[in-house]
Amino acid sequence: MSPDNLDIQNSLDKDLIASVTDLKVYFESKQGMVHSVDGVSFDIVDGEMMGLVGETGCGKSVTARTFMQLVQSPPGVLAGGNIKFRSKNSKSGSQVIDLLDLSENQIRELRGERIAMIFQDPGKALNPGLTIRTQIAEVFQEHRENDVLEKAGLKNKLTGVTEYFVKKYIKQEAGFLVTTLLKIPPLSTYKKKIDNGINRLVAEALEETQIPNPTKVMERFPHELSGGMKQRVMIAQAIACNPDLLIADEPTTALDVTVQARVLDLIKELQKRHKTSVLYISHDLSLVRRICDRIAVMYAGQIVETGDAETIFNQPKHPYTQGLINALPSMSHERGKLEAIEGIVPELIEPEPGCRFVSRCKRRKANCKKIDPKLQPISEVDKSHKVACLLYES
């Protein structure tokens, strides 16, 4: 960690696990810079489930991927902001770092280990050509070398060249020569022990997500499993190293409704058990309300409202949030009437100043087209509920 990072050591509130400040991620295109994420700020409380809600294209996925620097760098450009993160179980105790400041090697240490991600379509996010075992094993091989050695019964028992070869094998750094040597006795016995150790770790991970018959499932390929099973596998893979932050990018969108509920329960349970913080991305406001502690609503690359889940739902302040909630079918509406928000999402290429929701807002005022609304607390009393709307600015 660079000396500069020491400055932000103490700049993250004790109860937060992560804090996004003024994040800007743009994309180069022939027509100009697309402002996908344009000044996004929100916090994630340690141990909570935070929902990030918005329609397709609002920038929520990009925001999520930026945590792990997974945005492709051309055409993506980091145009500003920082993401502070508290890494709890790192070798030097608890540490606060700026995720965007890390080098490729440094962020790789965190990926899958301190921060993990589960993706929308598990059928696509799992490699179709590799077994479940191989894919989950990779997490352990990359980050839990010592656990592997321990399970294999080889901890502290290897020396010299053997130790070197075996460790290379675990880390998937073995070249052609080493791989061939490991197939011949006596090295092959070590390889077998390592493989068995890995198998045990993988089986334990699968058990955590209540997958029946882990040893059989391990040997299967993704296409042999159902959608729900595949998502459990993804989740097992993600929590294998007990990460501090789990980012879930619409994990149930591609699943059947009944399966959805079970997977959500699983995530919630795991979260409680391991005290993992979760950033839950979704376009489904009612779903997010059920499982999340707090919600941030995103529109056209910006956060428009944040607050407790119940508060947002019962007392939405931003016209967009209100529109979303009104659009949800519910018992309180007249039969046969669904309210949709008029208009469409604006193009985000070199956007003009002013509120981006203005063309669709029923409560717009004259100033709304000229002045950028800032995300601010509703009142001095209720600082946790923030809105970005001129209607509430003093």
């Binding site: 991927r65 490729e104 996010a125 799992l126 050509g129 997490v139 750094e173």
Partner: protein
């Protein structure tokens, strides 16, 4: 079940195709003038000429002649090669081994170089190295083998003197036994490393020349399928696990990109097969190709017929195998998601 039916259907057509080919080949020889021209000479008297004609059944109607040919082939008589001054069957095995050695070497070059180049380019899309490799790939399909081979000859044999032409140094190779007919393997089996090196050194230029076209095609396919794979979600998911770029590329993306590439590899067999004719001429390689080239210029019908039949049958079988593999792979992909 569909696959099995497909295979059976293809296998049943096979004999028809082979027979059809033999008819065409035979018909060709009877169209173009005197088929025994190569055996006749001006000194022969009319009586001797007549005798020759009878011996080769030229006095009988053409379909009957066809059956005499087939009968001869089934008994192992492939005719007399004027070019080699020997029965075709006697000359064939040694030349076949020579051509096979060359073709396999070229194949190894094409597959390994092609996959490596394609992966390299695909991983570095739109960077300079990618553009260079793409230029090489595009040129590969349009490259006249005879020109490329001559260029190699000029640069590496005439100017630089690095590599020799021909198949081997006779001094080194007459001494050792030839159980396989593959000089490289024979040399290894005899433990003669200078002979081995000599054989390899003679192989390099012709193998590279012959394999170039195939390399280009394989590289192109590998590159495009790798680029496609790199767009898939599982690549992002693998990165999200903290895996190194190298592992993501090789273990995840490339492995899946190899699947469509394998089918292309089967197609390149045709390239290699036909290229041996020209490559062997230029590099003075004593194989079937060069033999055929001489036969073609001197009207050596027996050789021409044998060569065409042989390559066609080989071609048919390889295509069948490739198509079956492709059908099998396709099904698994279809059943998968």
């Amino acid at each position: 079940m569909q696959i099995r039916d497909y295979i059976i259907r293809r296998l049943m057509i096979l004999p028809i195709l082979i027979i059809g080919t033999s008819i065409i080949v035979f018909a060709l020889t009877r169209i173009g003038g005197s088929p025994i021209g190569i055996y006749l000479s001006h000194e022969m008297s009319p009586a001797e000429v007549q005798e020759m004609k009878e011996r080769f059944h030229l006095d009988k109607p053409v379909p009957i002649q066809y059956f005499y040919w087939i009968k001869g082939v089934s008994q192992g008589d492939l005719g007399w090669s004027g070019v080699a001054s020997a029965p075709v069957v006697d000359v064939f095995p040694k030349k076949f081994a020579a051509t096979m050695e060359l073709a396999i070497a070229a194949g190894i070059v094409a597959v390994s170089l092609g996959i490596a180049m394609g992966t390299f380019a695909g991983a570095r899309r739109n960077k300079i190295s990618d553009h260079i490799i793409r230029v090489v790939s595009v040129s590969g399909a349009s490259m006249p083998l005879f020109w490329f081979a001559i260029l190699l000859l000029i640069i590496f044999w005439v100017w630089l003197g690095w590599f020799p032409i021909g198949r081997s140094d006779p001094n080194l190779f007459e001494a050792i036994p030839h159980p396989t007919g593959f000089y490289t393997i024979d040399a290894l089996l005899a433990g003669d490393f200078s002979a081995f090196r000599d054989a390899i050194w003679h192989l390099i230029m012709p193998a590279v020349a012959l394999g170039y076209g195939a390399t280009a095609i394989i590289a192109r396919m590998m590159r495009s399928s790798l680029i496609e794979e790199l767009q898939e979600d599982y690549v992002d998911a693998a990165k999200a696990k903290g895996l190194a770029e190298r592992v993501v590329l090789k273990k995840h993306a490339r492995r899946n990109a190899l699947v469509p590439t394998v089918t292309v590899i089967g197609l390149t067999f045709g390239f290699l097969l036909q290229g041996t004719v020209v490559a062997e001429i230029i590099f003075r390689w004593p194989g079937l190709g060069r033999w055929m080239a001489s036969a073609v210029l001197r009207g050596d019908q027996a050789t021409i017929m044998t060569y065409v039949m042989f390559t066609s049958i080989l071609f048919l079988f390889v295509n069948l195998v490739v198509d079956i593999i492709y059908a099998y792979l396709d099904r698994r992909v279809v059943l998968g998601d």
